[in-house]
């Protein structure tokens, strides 16, 4: 499935809910069920700064694809991460670099995207894209 297809799938899932409360409940459910990061990878170096909640992001490059695992101490943040991972994990660096991630706007998460120092989503996406750039550069060496 392409990135855009996964995004469409998420958008239609969120369209089932009219109420913002239900959307948050859905995010909370996803947050609770996020496959947790390996304890050894929940390290200081994997901690993303600029988050009001703490976020750990770990990346592995296997057979040309980047596999992401992550965790956060806040449940809603974990829900958002699980969406990002669903869309962006196990993709090639190029796919990740060119991902427009329009689903974030479409499902009404834009308020989490404000360029604020307390906000994590921007930093998470930035970090994911940085990994993609780094692995791509490494691949070309």
């Amino acid at each position: 499935m392409k990135i855009e297809e996964t995004e469409k799938e998420i958008i239609s899932e969120f369209e089932m809910f009219d109420d913002w409360l239900d959307r948050y409940n859905y995010l909370i459910e996803m947050g609770k069920s996020l496959h947790v990061i390996d304890a050894k990878n929940k390290s200081e170096t994997n901690l993303i700064h600029g988050c009001q909640s703490r976020v750990w992001l770990h990346a592995e490059f296997v057979d040309g694809h980047i596999h992401f695992t992550a965790d956060s101490d806040a449940v809603i943040t974990r829900g958002i991460i699980s969406l990002l991972i669903r869309v962006l994990s196990d993709r090639t660096p190029d796919e990740i670099i060119h991902a427009k991630l329009e689903f974030i706007d479409a499902i009404g998460l834009t308020q989490h995207l404000s360029p604020s120092r307390s906000n994590g989503l921007t930093s998470m996406i930035k970090q994911i894209k940085l990994y993609a750039l780094a692995f791509k550069a490494k691949e070309q060496v």
Binding site: W20, L21, Y24, N25, I28, Q52, S53, R54, D73, A74, V75, I76, T77, S118
Partner: protein, 408 residues
């Protein structure tokens, strides 16, 4: 001034409060971050730009005279507001942060040297930590920290032990933005003065809630921000004792701070202009004047009583709700309540509370050492002003109930 005011009338003075967010009435409980502005302030700024925008102290023309007079009138107003002895002891800055930086740079670099000690406290916000850390790095001085007790008060006994002949400066907060603690600053000042150590107070959280009398307090420097005092952003006050300000070198060069300039020597202007380089923020100074007048008209005793009632009601409702831990329980407290809903991350709670139209702050409130001290991931902070109501507190409580329902 009657102590009972019409709350609806007061609220109508603040146009922003009547709006809706997410289709719900806005409940603004983030007053420690910034306060809302009454119409008189907004109108005064607009009137300045529409009718007499002009540079001050430079022209002989009508507009410049009018702007200069309005600007200097506010200086007198601030002098009276905090009961400073001289009007030239009032310096306009961009805010509390700049005022502290000014003192750290100017006083600090002249009078504080290697192995000297500067005392701050464990409950400072970053603006009263970082400028002193920077100074210490530059001159080789050391920072000493007054510890906080579990209830959020400062450990006075520990403070007394920190004072010694190497101590060259004390800078502490008047009121904590995270814990609400009102520090008994007079005791701290008196103790420092027994060692002839100057004391600066960070009044960022005090100016909107409590009477400030620098003569009674006896502090050597005091700072506060316009925007936390129902005035505009980008304007603040540094008060300094005349002798100290006179002994200090200028902080920045250029503009009104100069008397004579040649390429061989520049002589500096007198107080207060020595510390006001460049074109000042005239419109916002005028707005600040209106904000101070508004507060004085309402009366600080009225404000204090109203906010005490709101604080008591909020505290009572939170504790009744259950599963709530309040961080900061000093006996003397302003209307700031930091709390945690058990087992729920403040960010999760804040996200849901926001959707009820309630503006609370979540996170570390620019006081990371406070979070470290109490081992917290952050808190939810509701900070109230006199224009808030008991009904608004009920809305917050309802939002908290919903948070518990969603996360437990």
């Amino acid at each position: 001034m009657p102590l009972v005011q019409d709350i609806e009338k007061i609220r109508s003075d603040f146009p922003i409060l009547s709006q809706q967010v997410y289709g719900k009435p806005l409940v603004y409980f983030d007053n420690a971050a910034t306060t809302q502005k009454p119409t008189v302030v907004i109108d005064a700024i607009s009137e300045y730009y529409r009718e007499y925008n002009s540079n001050v102290h430079r022209g002989v023309h009508f507009l410049s005279n009018k702007a200069s007079k309005a600007f200097e009138d506010v200086r007198v107003q601030v002098q009276q507001f905090i009961n400073a002895k001289h009007v030239h002891e009032i310096i306009f800055t961009r805010g509390t942060t700049e005022a502290i930086n000014l003192v750290a740079s100017s006083y600090g670099r002249r009078f504080i040297g290697k192995d000297d000690e500067i005392i701050i406290s464990e409950i400072e916000h970053h603006s009263n930590i970082v400028p002193w850390q920077m100074l210490c790095e530059q001159v080789g001085a050391k920072l000493r920290i007054i510890p906080a007790l579990d209830d959020g008060t400062l450990d006075f006994e520990a403070y007394l032990k920190l004072l010694n002949q190497r101590t060259k400066f004390v800078s502490i907060t008047h009121i904590s933005n995270t814990l609400g603690t009102i520090v008994p600053v007079k005791d701290f000042i008196d103790a420092a003065h027994r060692w002839n150590i100057p004391v600066m107070l960070d009044g960022a959280q005090a100016s909107a809630h409590t009477e400030i009398d620098v003569e009674v307090l006896g502090c050597d420097f005091y700072s506060f921000s316009g925007h936390k005092t129902f005035g505009p952003m980008g304007i603040g006050i540094l008060y300094g004792r005349e002798e100290l300000l006179n002994a200090m070198p200028p902080y920045q060069g250029g503009g009104e701070m100069i008397q004579d300039v040649s390429f061989t020597k520049t002589t500096y202007n007198n107080l207060p202009f020595k510390f006001e380089a460049g074109t000042p923020n005239v419109g916002d100074v005028i707005g600040l004047g209106k904000a101070i007048a508004y507060i004085q008209q309402l009366g600080l005793p009225y404000i204090a009583e109203r906010e005490k009632n709101l604080l008591d009601y909020l505290t009572k409702r939170l504790l009744e709700t259950g599963n709530i831990t309040i961080i900061g329980n000093a006996p003397e407290k302003t209307s700031v309540v930091s709390f945690l809903i058990d087992k729920i991350h403040p960010y999760d709670a804040g996200t849901i509370i926001d959707r009820f139209g309630v503006a609370v702050r979540t996170g570390n409130h620019c006081t990371q050492p406070v979070m470290d001290r109490y081992k917290l991931p952050g808190t939810i902070r509701a900070s109230l002003a006199f224009y808030n109501t008991e009904e608004e507190i009920d809305i917050l409580i309802a939002a908290i109930e919903k948070v518990k329902e969603m996360f437990y």
